[in-house]
């Protein structure tokens, strides 16, 4: 970076002598976009050198399923972030879905509990959207409030006990393989393909980017900003529910802490992949790379035989670095 010595005229320079060179700005921008793919390669190389056990087929399958679950949740989170919002209730929705479906011993047919689960998720997402658009609650506060409420409801319902048997179909989807690929991973790819199509090829996708980029401009352009935000939150909750169903199929039971890390991880993977908090910037390829990176790192903690709580620290480090990088990138780009 170079520091300009002549008296600058622009208003932004009046309170800061920090004048980054275009090359520096470009470098940070590229780093923000490509951090995740590059880091994936690095992690894979490190894993190849230090822990060959990482490449065992059983471990790769675990990684695949985990990528699928987090990936599906992160797609929803990316949509929400693109529209300049955030959803902290995904982990609660995820856990709730598992509870609803697992406790089908009451005699309901399976498809009814599926419909129940997705209906509840839809209502939660819709309520999030309403709170944010109609009551103008800051998104993280609204969704965090929702998180506490749903968790309370779930605990009141289950009395905090781990329970239930997972329906066979879910176990099938989570465990079966199509060729060498876990079925869950295919579900993830399908979700990605559908959402990608909507984002890139339809006007609804453009609306989301427009709303995130500049809500007032979007409003003047005739986009129903509130409707977009509500829709995005609803989709996010539905995807979180789908992720929860896959997760419960994979784990096989439901306990208290099920899915509690998915808030942080879904946000972290979207941000690592180049989505910014200020909305309108980012894409699903980046998110997919972010998901893969995060899961690889978390898996590495396990494969290396470190105590499991270092996963928390790992998540935190990834999130802090990613947020710092993206925040700085956004700051440079907006000058």
């Amino acid at each position: 970076m170079s520091i300009q010595t002549t008296a600058p005229k622009s208003s932004s320079s009046r309170f800061s002598s920090f004048r980054p060179s275009p090359r520096f700005v470009r470098g940070v921008d590229l780093a923000g976009q490509w951090a995740a793919p590059i880091m994936i390669v690095v992690v894979l190389l490190v894993a190849a050198i230090f822990t060959p056990a990482f490449y065992l087929p059983t471990n790769l399958k675990t990684v695949g399923i985990q990528i699928a679950v987090l990936g599906i949740v992160a797609v929803g989170q990316t949509l929400v972030l693109l529209a300049r919002s955030i959803d902290l209730s995904v982990s609660a929705v995820l856990a709730l879905g598992a509870v609803i479906v697992v406790q089908t011993e009451a005699g309901n047919p399976l498809w009814i509990s599926f419909i129940q689960a997705f209906a509840v998720a839809g209502v939660i997402g819709f309520a999030n959207g309403l709170l944010i658009t109609k009551r103008q609650v800051p998104p993280f506060v609204a969704t965090f409030g929702m998180l506490v409420f749903i968790q309370g409801a779930r605990l009141a319902y289950t009395k905090g006990q781990a329970s239930g048997t997972v329906p066979d179909i879910l176990r099938l989807i989570s465990f079966e393989q199509v060729g060498p690929i876990p079925a869950a991973l295919i579900v993830w790819l399908i979700v990605n393909a559908i959402v990608l199509f909507f984002l890139l090829r339809t006007r609804y996708g453009r609306w989301i980017y427009a709303v995130g980029g500049n809500p007032s401009a979007a409003r003047y352009a005739g986009i129903r900003v509130d409707a977009v935000v509500i829709a995005v939150h609803t989709v996010c909750s539905l995807l979180a529910m789908l992720g929860g169903l896959l997760l419960s199929g994979y784990i096989g039971y439901v306990d208290l802490r099920l899915g509690s890390d998915y808030n942080l991880n879904s946000i972290a993977s979207a941000i690592v992949g180049g989505t910014t908090f200020t909305g309108g910037r980012g894409n699903l390829f980046g998110t997919a790379a972010g998901v893969a990176l995060l899961i690889l790192l978390l898996n590495l903690v396990v494969v290396l035989g470190l105590p499991i709580h270092w996963q928390y620290a790992m998540q935190g480090v990834v999130l802090v670095l990613a947020v710092a990088l993206q925040g700085f990138r956004q700051f440079l780009l907006s000058r």
């Binding site: 506490v148 409420f149 809500p215 928390y312």
Partner: protein
């Protein structure tokens, strides 16, 4: 005192007008204290265990943990930020001190140095968070969320089981009283007064509000943005560290699950107290009420032996209602 337009106008206003103006300006604070009085009144009439003086003192004492953290939190919220790492800071302070006590054979001579160490740890974490936020321009909510996750891992690395070996005299900082008032209540009152004077009577206080109102305007009016924000996070972490010290004295062991959920509860207390979560508006007077209300409710629930899970549900309901009753200070 010079006669300003404001004071001149007030002299011409009739008394009732001034009253309505006062009520309108402080509606949220009056509301929160009204609700507290209502809850206490109903509980006191209906439950005789509740109205015993020792229980009332207990509520006051229970409120200090969430109260202290909330006071720090409200200073951060005023700047338009949010500190999600407070619970983990409180926890790491307690765990560090407990570890050192355990290693040194619970030597009472270490109490004062370790208390200072705990406060220092808090201050360091606060300045780290603040500097990270101001230098990278990152979203404070998420970055503190990430820091909380790192600290959670570190805390579990320190110990996954409660650490014993806290010397008896240390427990006195939670138990001891001056007259009838517990020391910890006095400490909280002092910190609260400090925060009150800071936010209302000093230049830094006005800077806090200005920064929360608009970063750009604050910078253009020559307010030192970075310094103000870092200071807010330091204060918040300092309060959290103090809470961690009291928590350690209350439980008597270094607890790796101490202060669980406090980051969110503190934000609830702040929001209940009427501080705008967008920053720049509200008063620290309400925060104390928010903390007191949470402590009172939890006490009432425990007396009524409400299942802990229904308590969670109820807390969630309160949060949702507070959040839904929220009014944006400015339209987007």
């Amino acid at each position: 005192m010079a006669v300003t337009v404001e004071s001149a106008r007030e002299q011409f206003q009739s008394r009732p007008q001034r009253w309505t103006k006062y009520i309108r300006n402080n509606a949220s604070i009056l509301l929160i204290y009204g609700i507290i009085l209502l809850v206490i009144g109903v509980a006191a009439v209906s439950n005789e265990n509740f109205r015993s003086p020792s229980n009332l003192m207990n509520i006051l004492r229970q409120s200090i943990i969430v109260g202290l953290i909330a006071i720090g939190q409200s200073v951060v919220v005023l700047t338009g930020g949010m500190d999600m790492s407070v619970a983990q800071v409180a926890r790491i302070v307690g765990l560090t001190i407990a570890t050192i006590f355990a290693a040194k054979g619970s030597d009472p001579a270490l109490i004062v140095p370790l208390i200072l160490l705990g406060l220092l740890i808090g201050t360091l974490f606060g300045s780290f968070t603040g500097i990270l936020i101001t230098q990278t321009h990152a979203n404070p909510f998420i970055i503190t969320f990430g820091i909380a996750s790192i600290l959670r891992g570190v805390n579990l690395a320190i110990s996954t089981t409660p650490i014993r070996g806290i010397p008896k005299p240390y427990l006195q900082i939670y138990e001891a009283k001056i007259g009838i008032i517990p020391i910890n209540v006095i400490v909280m009152a002092l910190i609260w007064i400090l925060a009150y004077l800071l936010t209302t009577r000093t230049r830094t206080g006005r800077a806090l509000y200005a920064v929360g109102g608009s970063e750009r305007v604050a910078r253009l009016s020559a307010i030192r943005y970075n310094r103000t924000v870092v200071l807010a996070y330091i204060f918040s972490a300092f309060c959290a560290a103090t809470a961690g010290l009291f928590l350690l004295a209350r439980t008597g062991v270094g607890d790796p699950s101490a202060a669980e959920g406090m980051d969110f509860q503190s934000i609830v207390a702040v929001a209940l107290g009427g501080i705008s979560l967008y920053g720049g508006k509200g008063s620290i007077v309400g925060t104390l009420g928010g903390g007191l209300l949470l402590a009172t409710l939890s006490n009432v629930f425990n007396l009524l032996q409400v299942n802990i899970y229904y308590q969670q549900l109820f807390l969630g309901l309160i949060v949702l209602i507070t959040v839904a009753a929220y009014r944006s200070p400015r339209s987007t």
